[in-house]
């Protein structure tokens, strides 16, 4: 009556089972490789962009400060200042937030709290479908509808402008904001709703005094995700931005955000010019990175 050792147990495993264990270990490794693939891709892209983008500053003797705060972008004269584009990107994104967040939040509240199940079942998929429309089509829509509208209404020489970008981006961020915020609002426990209503507070009062505050971290996540979508959007923006290299001072100014700069010139750029476009990418990427950091902070706070 001896206790079987580890080895003996392994020997006891039948042939058929051995194959199962082999398959088991092979498939778990296969899954891990797939998971690593995305991490490797991320590292490669970041590494490549940073390698190319930092080259002119590290080797070529260009000043990074001049790059960030220079107002002239004339590659043929060796002038690379992206300040107007940074400002354009920030303005466009903030503008889109100002329009998109209230509309998105109210839509989410309507769907989660006010609309009957039947109405919500029609509107929700419609909004999700909005997210699936290729961004170039948003651009085409903007160019065909919004730009002429602005041109005619405000008597502009050129309807492609900051406000056109803002409107298109606001529409584009809606699905993200609505979907994420709606989920957050639906996750608020029913007991909060009942508790508030039972204290003689109206439905709308309950929404704004208990439900929205309780869903705050989810709603903030929705806003940050929408922001990320807006700041990274390229294709639709190219079509309606107008692409002028100026620091915008009015809503009707034609602008060129960071993304557009890369997309417009990468096709023919070479040498330092090309590397400067990669450097533009670094700046853009930093924005996204900061956003993700903020997002992580928000979720961590919500978790508490």
């Amino acid at each position: 009556m001896s206790i079987p050792t580890e080895n003996k147990q392994t020997e006891n495993i039948g042939k058929a089972n051995k194959r199962k264990y082999f398959l088991e270990s092979v498939s778990s490794k296969l899954f891990m490789i797939c998971a690593l693939l995305s991490v490797i891709t991320l590292v490669l892209i970041i590494g490549f962009v940073f390698y190319k983008g930092s080259h002119p500053f590290v080797v070529g003797g260009y000043s990074f400060i001049d790059f960030l705060f220079g107002t002239d972008w004339v590659p043929s004269e060796d002038k690379f200042g992206i300040f107007p584009m940074i400002i354009a990107s920030i303005y466009a994104t903030i503008g889109a937030l100002i329009i998109g967040v209230p509309i998105g939040l109210f839509t989410a509240i309507f769907l989660a709290e006010i609309a009957s199940t039947r109405v919500a079942k029609i509107i929700s998929p419609a909004i999700q479908l909005l997210a699936g429309i290729p961004s170039v089509l948003y651009g085409v829509f903007g160019l065909a509808i919004i730009v002429p509208f602005l041109q005619n209404t405000f008597g502009l020489a050129k309807g492609q402008s900051l406000i056109a970008v803002i409107l298109v981006l606001a529409i584009m961020m809606l699905p993200t904001i609505v979907t994420v915020a709606e989920t957050a609002i639906r996750a608020v426990p029913q007991s909060y709703r009942e508790g508030s209503l039972a204290l003689g507070v109206s439905h709308i009062g309950t929404i704004f005094r208990v439900i929205v505050p309780a869903a705050k971290s989810g709603i903030m996540t929705a806003v940050v995700l929408g922001l990320g979508r807006a700041i990274g959007e390229t294709m639709a923006v190219i079509l309606v931005a107008g692409n002028s290299l100026i620091v915008p001072t009015s809503l009707t100014d034609s602008i060129r955000p960071l993304t557009t700069n890369i997309a417009l010139e990468m096709g023919y750029a070479a040498g330092t010019h090309q590397e400067m476009l990669f450097a533009t990418g670094i700046v853009l990427f930093s924005f996204i990175l900061i956003l993700n950091f903020v997002l992580a902070k928000i979720s961590a706070k919500g978790g508490n």
Partner: protein, 280 residues
């Protein structure tokens, strides 16, 4: 019984002649029917959940609703402040009269709920400070004056016998309190509205025995000021704290009487079977 009534009437007439008896009675209010329910039927879609419920609930007494799970006692409780309105498919027939007003023909649900407060099965404090929780209802009524709110919060927390435990941490999150403390703050939150009636839906079922005892003591004190209707699964609890008890079974009121009678000399066999623990 009949003789007692006659004597009572005589007494009333006499008091009335002296000119103060009636008003005194009204002030004290005890024993008057505060809530009158007549032939109440409730349907969830096609399914009927309450069948012809009729009962009068006395002012400044504790009325317990007992019965097995799914018998309709919670559903009935929720008709009293129209919480069932939240469910789309609910249909209600019959009358509920509170303070001489039929609450289902009057459309002012908000006013009803300020007069009929509710405490739920699980403590459901909002994710905000203790102070803000208690001040939530009064603020909804438009009270903004800080001093006035301070006073209401203190009075309410004292009324719920929790002031001493929380007075130093009013500005901290209410969710940091223990379950029993949270439930008493929930009661304070309901008291802060100065309602006439407080409905309690199994308020101690999520609490430990010591917290349960505290809440029970509190309920006994509270009936000085409020009319209390409590749903409970715990028959000893009903026996300990209530003046009258209604026994619900399959959506009907089988028996409604003084609590002592329900537990000592029930008239209906089904009540007896239930309170002696033969089923349910």
């Amino acid at each position: 019984m009949n003789r007692a009534l006659k004597e009572h009437t005589k007494e009333l007439v006499k008091q009335n002649e002296t000119g103060k008896g009636i008003s005194e009675m009204a002030q004290r209010g005890k024993g008057n029917a505060k809530i009158k329910v007549k032939d109440l039927n409730l349907f969830y879609g096609e399914k009927q959940a309450l069948f012809g419920v009729s009962l009068d609930i006395n002012e400044k007494e504790v009325t317990a609703l007992i019965g097995p799970s799914g018998c309709g006692k919670s559903t009935f409780l929720r008709t009293l402040n129209r919480m069932n309105d939240l469910i789309d498919s609910v249909k209600i027939t019959g009358d509920i009269i509170i303070n001489d007003e039929n609450i289902y023909t009057s459309s002012d649900v908000i006013k009803l709920r300020t007069k009929v407060g509710m405490v739920f099965q699980k403590p459901n404090l909002f994710p905000m400070s203790i102070y803000d929780n208690v001040a939530y209802g009064p603020r909804g009524q438009g009270i903004k004056n800080k001093k006035e709110l301070d006073k209401i919060v203190e009075e309410s927390l004292r009324g719920a016998a929790i002031w001493d435990e929380v007075k130093d941490r009013l500005k901290t999150s209410a969710l940091g309190l223990s379950g029993g403390q949270q439930q008493r703050v929930c009661i304070a939150r309901a008291i802060a509205m100065k309602p006439d009636v407080i409905l309690m839906d199994e308020p101690t079922s999520a609490l430990d025995p010591i917290s349960t005892l505290k809440v029970e003591e509190l309920i006994t004190q509270m009936k000085e000021d409020f009319t209390i209707v409590i749903v409970t699964h715990n028959m000893q609890q009903a026996a300990r704290i209530s003046d009258k008890t209604a026994f619900f079974l399959n959506g009907e009121v089988v028996e409604y009487d003084e609590t002592d009678n329900i537990f000592s000399t029930p008239k209906d066999q089904r009540t007896e079977d239930y309170v002696t623990g033969r089923f349910g």
